[in-house]
């Protein structure tokens, strides 16, 4: 470069007034939008954290709920039981769907499954709750129960697991599949020894996302899991179970400070669960990036 050449990162001094105004307007709009969103988000998080921290005590984690007071052990346990119950049902089916879409889906099958998955994402969760209520709680006579609640959560998380598994498996480079086939590997060998192991961290990320959604769900559980002040005794049907989001929903409308404290403590716990799961899923994703060659 010669000495007389202009520096590459010239300031936009030569720009017309109109372009500078447009630029300013654009930046202002973006900044304002960001600030509004960040303010709302911060306000919620700070509010939950402040009032939740104030309500925190060891008893929350060790005692069960008594009326509108006591602890949240039953709700914490219930949230975990329901979320894992949901995953137990949704993961095998969802990952299998993902494999089908990524590897085998030809003709009309795959677009149909994909369309249904997208419709299910858009389904209001309370509709899912009502559907399982009619089917399991009423018709099958399971009453409010772990089984009914888990099925509702499984239906909610299924499309997420399915689509994220599909994308994870597709992202495994074609080069590696070709290499495997050239070594005499059949369909199953390519899928189970190459595609699936390499997609696993990304599939795991999708599962964690579905878990975060399950932990935060309320509506489908109102119709299916009920509520219980007691610890779960292990029955899958005809035994209602507590969960954290119910504590938020029910206790915040009570006229007692004690109940509000419980609601905020539950809100803080749910937020922390979701935060931990999100961080874990990011780590899993980073691991998958490291693992895949020239992706």
């Amino acid at each position: 470069m010669t000495a007389s050449a202009p520096p590459l990162n010239r300031k936009p001094q030569g720009l017309s007034l109109r372009r500078r105004l447009t630029d300013l307007l654009g930046w202002t709009a973006c900044t304002v939008a960001f600030l509004v969103l960040a303010a709302a988000m911060t306000s919620i998080l700070v509010g939950v954290a402040r009032r939740g921290m104030g309500a925190m005590h060891w008893g929350l984690l060790t005692e069960i709920t008594q009326g509108t007071g006591g602890g949240l052990l039953n709700a914490i346990e219930g949230t975990l039981v329901l979320a894992f119950g949901g995953l137990l049902l949704a993961v095998p089916l969802g990952v299998a769907c993902g494999i089908y879409l990524a590897e085998f889906g030809q003709g009309k099958g795959a677009p149909t499954v994909r369309f249904l998955a997208d419709v299910m994402v858009g389904l209001p969760s309370i509709v899912v709750g009502y559907f399982v209520y009619i089917l399991a709680v009423e018709d099958l006579g399971w009453n409010f129960s772990v089984a009914a609640g888990s099925i509702a959560l499984a239906i909610i998380s299924l499309p997420y697991i399915c689509r994220s598994s599909e994308l994870a498996i597709r992202q495994v480079p074609q080069d590696l599949r070709n290499a495997a086939r050239a070594l005499g590997a059949g369909d199953n060998r390519v899928i189970f020894s190459i595609a699936l192991p390499l997609a696993l961290p990304a599939i795991f990320t999708g599962i964690l996302l579905a878990l975060a959604i399950s932990v935060g769900e309320t509506a489908p559980l109102l119709y299916t899991a009920g509520w219980s002040n007691y610890l779960w005794t292990g029955h899958l049907v005809r035994e209602p179970i507590g969960y954290l989001t119910y504590a938020i929903w029910a206790f915040i409308t009570e006229p007692f400070t004690e109940a509000h404290a419980l609601a905020y403590a539950a809100a803080l716990l749910v937020t922390l669960f979701v935060l931990i799961i999100s961080v874990a899923s990011r780590l899993a994703l980073a691991a998958s990036r490291r693992r895949l060659p020239h992706a």
Binding site: P173, D175, L176, N178, A179, A180, R181, A182, L183, G184, A185, G186, R189, S193, I194, L198, R291, L292, P293
Partner: protein
């Protein structure tokens, strides 16, 4: 491209194993293509390709981009089957057996006909797992200790044993580009194919790594039959016994390499190897 006579002035063999004498005419024909046409949907890419490959020789396929040489190579282990709309007409026999006959076993074919790709594509597993993948896929060498022996034999054959023996459990992707390509060769050799197909195996490598692959090819032909697609005419001249020149989906000429590069029988071949087009 340099003028043809520069090529001709170069020694025809790589420094190490001296150029093998032209194969005895009695050598067995391993691959025999008769009037092979190939289509992607309605688009025809090969027109009446006929050629044969003899045991323990290196056949180089040369020609400008898009002339069908890679398509022909990939039809020899039926990798083209994976592309929708791919169709072959004519006869393609390996050891006398029609590999496109209805009901013929594609998996068994790929075990006999190994392939090394243009871009090295080791699995993101350990070096050892790369070499044993084909064994596991084909349920070979299942007794304990057997696989260890295969790993050593294959890495030695691919000239990677000295560099790799202390890092068998280390990730294959930590190897250099040339080492990765030799690992891919070792991986293909582990299942003891008869034929090794190489699709521009050195085009992404530096000159030193390229020279190693070429030396390796010359060593491998003692035990295997090799078909190599290359854009590099000097490479074809250095390592191959015979050369086929492809142009727009047709085989223009197949001849002993030395003869083709000194006295091409067809005008188009001469134009191509002297750099007048392509």
């Amino acid at each position: 491209m340099t003028p043809g006579n520069t090529i001709l002035n170069r020694p025809l063999a790589a420094p190490k194993p001296a150029a093998a004498p032209a194969p005895a005419p009695a050598t067995r024909v391993v691959i025999e293509a008769r009037n092979v046409d190939f289509f992607y949907h309605a688009h025809q890419v090969l027109f009446g390709v006929s050629l044969e490959v003899r045991q323990n020789e290196i056949l180089a396929l040369i020609g400008p981009s898009g002339c069908g040489k890679s398509t022909f190579l990939r039809s020899l282990n039926r990798m083209n089957d994976l592309i929708a709309g791919a169709r072959l007409r004519g006869s393609l026999r390996i050891d006398g057996e029609d590999i496109y006959a209805p009901g013929s076993d594609v998996i068994a074919l790929r075990r006999r006909v190994g392939m090394v790709f243009q871009r090295s594509n080791p699995f993101p597993f350990s070096i050892e797992e790369n070499v044993t993948f084909g064994l596991r896929a084909n349920r070979l060498a299942r007794r304990p200790g057997e696989r260890v022996a295969v790993v050593e034999r294959s890495l030695r054959a691919a000239g990677l044993w000295e560099e790799g023996k202390d890092r068998l459990k280390k990730p294959a992707l930590a190897l250099s580009g040339g080492q990765q390509q030799r690992l891919c060769i070792a991986r293909a050799l582990a299942i003891e194919p008869e034929i090794l197909l190489m699709d521009e195996p050195a085009s992404a490598l530096d000159p030193i790594a390229t020279a190693r692959i070429e030396e390796l090819a010359l060593e491998l032909k003692q035990r295997y039959t090799l078909v190599i697609v290359t854009h590099n005419l000097q490479q074809a001249a250095r390592i191959s016994d015979r050369t086929s020149f492809f142009l727009m989906g047709r085989v223009i000429e197949t001849a002993p390499t030395q003869q083709m590069f000194t006295h091409p029988a067809v005008q188009e071949t001469e134009d191509y190897i002297t750099g007048r087009f392509g």
